[in-house]
């Protein structure tokens, strides 16, 4: 029971860190993680008393695996990865900018439309006194006609 929970914890740790930090495709990550998973299980079957430290010493910690992966990459491969990341960033940035411009355009059109409607509506307030009628015409000039 102890071994199973330790195994789960270790696998969870590998899965979490390698998924986030390995600079490769999802398929490659999945293949690497499942190879580690299967082989840790085998290792624990053969060494049932192995401690967590022994497992990390034998397989390497997730950080060590990531460092080894990065240092085994050729310069051209690294450049390609960075270029790809830069392209993705540019596409996302352009997308966000386009959405912002579209929203701004829609808001401007809606505002202009509302402003065009507003002056056409007249609000007339009338008050009758003993001798005269006071009328307030709420147009754009706000003239008072008596």
């Amino acid at each position: 029971m102890v071994i199973i929970s330790m195994y789960d914890r270790i696998i969870k740790n590998y899965r979490k860190k390698l998924t986030v930090s390995l600079p490769c495709s999802r398929t490659e990550k999945e293949s690497i993680i499942s190879s580690i998973e299967v082989n840790i299980r085998t290792y624990l079957d053969e060494n049932p008393n192995a401690s967590e430290k022994e497992i990390y010493d034998h397989f390497g910690t997730p950080d060590e695996i990531i460092n080894d992966y990065l240092s085994s990459m050729r310069g051209s491969e690294l450049q390609k990865k960075f270029k790809k990341k830069k392209t993705i960033f540019c596409i996302v940035f352009a997308g966000v900018l386009a959405v912002c411009l579209i929203v701004a355009a829609i808001v401007t059109v809606a505002f202009n439309h509302a402003m065009q409607r507003f002056p056409k509506e007249r609000y007339v307030v009338s008050e009758t006194t003993e001798n005269s009628t006071l009328t307030e015409d709420w147009t754009s000039s706000n003239t008072i006609v008596v």
Partner: protein
């Protein structure tokens, strides 16, 4: 990073392929063979080996097959393909060529005592 580490990283692909020319092996076995044959001078953590094996497999230099061991355990055996063998030979030639160059340089400067110039 030390010279040893750099050499290790540059040669691990070649050494794994070289071991596979003898027989098909699984991950743990490859690690053990590397350590034993180098008198523990060349050790590789098993987790760091799988990305390399994955790349070799993707390139078609190595193929894999699964074998059931016992009731529930599965072992993945790695097998070197003819393309892998040719690639290993070219890596080996490159290695011996550069090793030869380095040895020649070190052989000539090694004779001079520090300060005798």
């Amino acid at each position: 990073m030390s010279v040893q580490e750099n050499i290790k990283r540059g040669t691990v692909e070649m050494l794994l392929l070289a071991l596979l020319t003898e027989e098909d092996m699984y991950g743990y076995q490859l690690c053990q063979e590397l350590a034993e044959r180098s008198n523990a001078k060349f050790t590789l953590q098993e987790g760091s080996m799988y990305p390399i094996l994955y790349r070799l497999t993707e390139k078609g230099l190595v193929s894999t097959r699964k074998e059931l061991v016992g009731k529930r355990r599965t072992r993945v055996y790695y097998h070197i393909e003819p393309e892998g063998y040719s690639y290993m030979q070219s890596l080996k030639e490159d290695y011996f060529s550069i090793h030869d160059g380095i040895t020649k340089i070190l052989g000539t400067v090694g004779d001079t005592e520090y300060g005798n110039h």
